[in-house]
């Protein structure tokens, strides 16, 4: 049984699930649960981005925009439209997918840095709308998110959201693993390695790219909705800003694009590091920059792939 699990492609998801269930018994206070929830939420968004970047080799520098759509959906729905939170969240995911579809259709033809700047532009547009349309979004200061009410009981408490985020991450992970080892996953990896070769064997490159772009936007939107629920107050910058997009892509690359656990590791670094670096006070940004550079120089494929390779070398 254990042996089968160890060899299963779902091993990373098992590990994640086990870690998620064990952590609350180890962590001394809800503050740590809050930090862990943030890791889960950002790991989920980064995992979606990893499908795009790691699997299909396409970059997006505007992914936080889709997080923003998911986050604001659960704020605007109940506040302005009288739609309950869960349907609002679903609508947010749907809207995010629709936006990704409409944007992706033209811009996914672009390659490399051109795609990077186009997605960056799309992310900025979303962020700008969230900032400027203050009558709906509360503007730059943001808006409150009504507490989620399920079966007439408000869902509250850091613990509850910790488990919700953790479960969402594990599910996201399982789905990502499923996709990777499916015909679509092979097609996407083929596109990443050689677009022209993918085309000649009959892979509809445009369609596959669009599919994975929309899927990654869905991940981001779900993560955004969770972020909004956990935080209770959202601002355009903290959900959809340009720097958040950069942070997401940094998580993916730091953790390693090739591995399912990569985005989790990347998110853990970028969420936990600022908490740990507070002891350095004014020097924390310098050290954060140094750590990022050192990581990328020493472990170019990213943390998880580089470490697994080293581990294999040692055991072999």
């Amino acid at each position: 049984m254990l042996n089968r699990m160890l060899r299963s492609r779902y091993l990373p998801a098992f590990l994640m699930l086990a870690a998620m269930l064990a952590l609350p018994y180890v962590l001394p206070s809800t503050y740590y649960l809050r930090v862990a929830s943030m890791v889960f939420v950002f790991a989920l968004a980064a995992m979606g981005l990893n499908l795009l970047l790691g699997l299909a080799g396409q970059v997006s520098l505007g992914h936080a925009g889709f997080m923003g759509v998911g986050a604001y959906a659960v704020a605007i729905g109940p506040t302005h439209l009288g739609v309950p939170a869960i349907p609002s969240a679903l609508a947010g995911v749907a809207l995010s997918c629709l936006l990704a579809y409409l944007m992706g259709r033209p811009i996914l033809k672009l390659k490399g840095y051109y795609l990077a700047v186009a997605t960056l532009g799309c992310g900025l547009l979303i962020s700008m709308v969230l900032t400027n349309e203050a009558q709906w979004t509360g503007g730059p200061d943001g808006m409150g998110v009504p507490r989620l009410v399920l079966f007439d009981a408000p869902v509250r408490g850091v613990q509850t959201w910790y488990y919700v985020c953790g479960v969402a991450l594990v599910i996201g992970m399982v789905l990502a693993i499923n996709l990777t080892f499916s015909p679509t996953g092979r097609a996407l990896r083929a596109i990443r390695d050689s677009e022209v070769a993918a085309r000649v064997v009959g892979i509809d490159v445009a369609r596959q790219k669009l599919f994975v772009f929309v899927l990654s936007a869905a991940y981001a939107a779900v993560a955004g909705s969770l972020l909004a629920f956990v935080n209770g107050h959202i601002t355009p910058d903290s959900t959809s800003g340009f720097l958040r997009s950069i942070e997401l892509i940094t998580m993916v690359v730091l953790g390693g694009t090739g591995a399912v656990l990569g985005p989790v590791a990347g998110a853990a670094i970028l969420v936990i590091l600022p908490q740990a670096l507070t002891v350095f006070h004014d020097y924390e940004h310098m050290i954060l920059g140094l750590v990022m550079m050192a990581c990328m120089i020493a472990l170019r494929q990213g943390l998880v792939p580089a470490l697994t390779a080293r581990f294999r070398e040692r055991t072999a």
């Binding site: 015909p183 679509t184 083929a190 390695d193 050689s194 993918a198 085309r199 064997v201």
Partner: protein
Amino acid sequence: MSILLRAEDISISFGGIKAVSGVSLAVERGEILSIIGPNGAGKTTFFNIISGLYLPSQGRVMLKDEDVTGRPPEMLARRGLCRTFQNLQVFFGMSALENVMAGRHRHERTSALSHILGLRCVGRENARSAAEAREKLDFVGLADLAERSAGGLSYGALKRLEIARALASEPELLLLDEPAAGCNGTETAQISEIIRKIAGAGITVVLVEHDMKLVMRISDRILVLEQGRSLCLGPPSVVRGDSRVQAAYLGQHGTREAHVA
């Protein structure tokens, strides 16, 4: 004999230079047809046009009596045309088996939604694709290396891997762009054997190749291009004896050989 692919009066130019001009060709079902010519004669460009990568400025391409000029390669693949590349276009981040499984793409029927959800039908389909892919790997003699990462294979093995991947798409017409380029004698012999087996399985093969011995040995017909124009078309014996070919092409034989070496 029926005509599988017909190229009519194909021309294309880049930056004012005519790379291919007025080339016509009719490929018969079941034959092995080679395209030869000196470097820069427009062979690969012509290939890129009939495989849908470039849009010709003039002329049309008919596949099975259907005008497919300007159709993208993925549409041609669905109509039974597949190709390999002069410069390797292998999926280096995947295993040899997965490379060939990717070639099965157009035969895989499950939906993307089922892929995400990991439904049972996907598992069955994966198994089916893997079985077919192993068969193709066996066909090109790479069965033992199925689980190896493509990045770790030798050059000759990669050349054959590309052929296996193309075969996995079950083409009726296979275009091979310099399948033996850069291969040593043994590897060339293996490739030559594989091409014969492919033709034996009823698949039409068109190849661009520099290795004259290989071309003369396996081809049913040979098209000679020079400076973008069609110089001569016929069976090896005729082409070998054609004075224009000798003047234009075989005259450079020595220098070309040196170049390849």
